[in-house]
């Protein structure tokens, strides 16, 4: 029985928590203001005036569209691969006890536990050793590898909550393995898979460190942004792209939250 319901937090704690949250959110909100500024050459604050012309300019930029399209395609295919591999792995790990089970969990988590630069350079040097030219598929290969863990975490959490006796009941009632999977297992884990898939998509869509090593001349949207950050050429376009990226990644995260909010947590894993 908790007795602290009527108790309110000390003022100092309230202020510290509020400041912390503001620290987390104000910088992102600032992006929204800069997308409308008329200033082209510098990051001057406050914006001299507001305009929506940069949205039209950005809309007509083929390079932005190409980068966006590449990012979406890479994210979609990586997510699909990660969904298959992550589901298989989580089903195997959560249903049975077998030798090396812990090792498998470690294997799945490793690509995200080690810094991205290690994954990146390892893949790059492996491609070089095996004489594999950089292409769309080398990017996908890297992305799918670290997306598996997100799907895996979500699915494992859901498997832990669903009772194994449901599967036994289904078999007792005469369903074969495929029917059980289709009518009992899948409906139970569907929302977890959807949430995992969304997060995997968001993760791949945003990934830059591994991509710098596995992409040749191709530009995903984050690579495009990175170029602009290192050598700013079209600040207004970058501002607009940054704002769109924030909005685009916001949706899958909110959706994933609503899909998994009762009970299991969204797998908060590192990038």
């Amino acid at each position: 029985m908790r007795s602290d319901r009527s108790q309110s937090a000390p003022l100092g704690l309230k202020i510290a928590a509020a400041c912390g949250l503001l620290f987390l959110h104000l910088p992102i909100l600032l992006i929204f203001v800069y997308a409308f500024t008329t200033e082209e050459k510098s990051f001057v604050w406050p914006p001299p005036a507001l305009t929506t012309q940069w949205f039209a300019v950005t809309w007509n930029r083929p390079d932005v569209w190409q980068a966006l399209s590449l990012s979406v395609r890479v994210a979609a295919i990586s997510t699909a691969i990660a969904l298959v591999l992550g589901t298989l792995c989580s089903a195997a790990v959560s249903r049975t006890q077998f030798f090396g089970r812990e090792t498998i969990s470690l294997l799945v988590i490793l690509p995200i536990a080690l810094p991205g630069i290690i994954t990146g350079i390892a893949l790059r040097s492996a491609f070089a050793l095996a004489d594999i030219p950089f292409s769309f598929w080398t990017i996908v290969l890297g992305h799918a590898t670290f997306c598996v863990v997100v799907v895996y975490n979500n699915a494992v959490a859901r498997f832990r909550r669903t009772s194994g006796s449901m599967i036994e009941a289904s078999m007792d009632l005469g369903a074969d393995g495929f029917q059980t999977f289709r009518h009992v297992v899948l409906p139970n884990i569907a929302t977890a898979l959807l949430a995992g898939g969304m997060l995997a998509f968001a993760l791949s869509f945003d990934e830059v460190i591994v991509t710098t090593f596995t992409a040749g001349q191709q530009q995903t949207l984050p690579i495009w942004m990175l170029e602009e950050l290192i050598r700013p050429r079209q600040r207004p376009v970058t501002n607009v792209v940054a704002m769109v990226v924030v909005l685009v990644t916001l949706l899958p995260i909110l959706l994933a939250y609503y899909l998994t909010r009762d009970g299991d947590q969204i797998a908060g894993s590192s990038k």
Binding site: S3, A9, L13, A16, A17, G20, L21, L24, H25, P27, L30, I31, S42, F43, V44, W45, P46, I81, L85, G86, L88, A92, I104, L107, V108, L110, A113, L114, P115, G116, I117, I118, T119, I121, A122, L123, R124, A126, L141, A144, T145, V148, G177, F178, Q179, L199, D206, V208, I209, T212, L226, A242, V245, T249, I253, Y257, R261, I266, G268, S270
Partner: protein
Amino acid sequence: MSLDAAITTKVAPAILPGSGGLRGALSDLFWREPKLLLLLMLLPPVLWLGIVYIGSLFALLLQSFFLIDEFSGLINREFTLKTYGDLFQAANLDIILRTATMAALVTFASAIIAFPIAYYAARYARGRWKALFYLGVMLPLWSSYLVKIYAWKLILAKEGILTWLLAKLNLLWLLDAWLSLPVVGGNSLSVSFTGTFIVFVYVWLPFMILPVQAALERVPSNLVEASSDLGASPGQTFRNVLFPLALPGIVAGSIFTFSLTLGDYIIPQIIGTSRLFIGQAVYSQQGTAGNIPLAAAFTVVPIVIMGFYLWGAKRMGAFDAL
């Protein structure tokens, strides 16, 4: 009597006939041989991760034992430890030390900022507020990494909002005094270690909040009340009750903040000085210098540091808080 008959006619047979065909045979096979099914389920992910990921890691590790020929620039594929010897040159040791110091400072600052947020969310926030806090941490965690860095570039720029704010508050002298300091200062915040530090803390902070909050959720509130009933001041309660119980969570969070800072090369490249961090050293060694062996040896450093770190964290029971 007739009722019974009506029921029995409606009841489906207790055991369905087998579905037959290839599908039925497969289903039966998997039922009789669960190990086969397990193997088939594990094979694709293990093959993928084993070949693509572990294979690449080993290839990388292998190359760290090769040496680059200084004159021809070709890689000499013979086993040697000389590349590791190069790591201990003063310049390279500097890079390693700088990165580890930054990682430690970032971890420390994140823990301090994260604690009040996590504590409020765990102990006081209820219902709608709880969801708000959760999303309030999740959204920055998952929003674009580059956009977050870009936002700080806007904030820290000389003509940016921070300078403007300090000017309004008549505190510009404070900023100038800070920037004139030897190591942490620079021409402006966006080209100083202070700037790098702020951005690191900002980007990795959510990774600290989540495990600390998870650890604090498990502290029963009557424990805190009992402590104050027994006469402890809030400070004493924090030191002797809350902090020790939250420590595994803090250590768990620090695994992320520390490891991510060790390996990052984009933040110090965009906001910071020209002095290198480990990630940048790896990147430039493999890219412009073409010295894959040295780059590979450099990547071993964070792996070793994190190995020790994880070993220590495990002993402190941090993995239970993840």
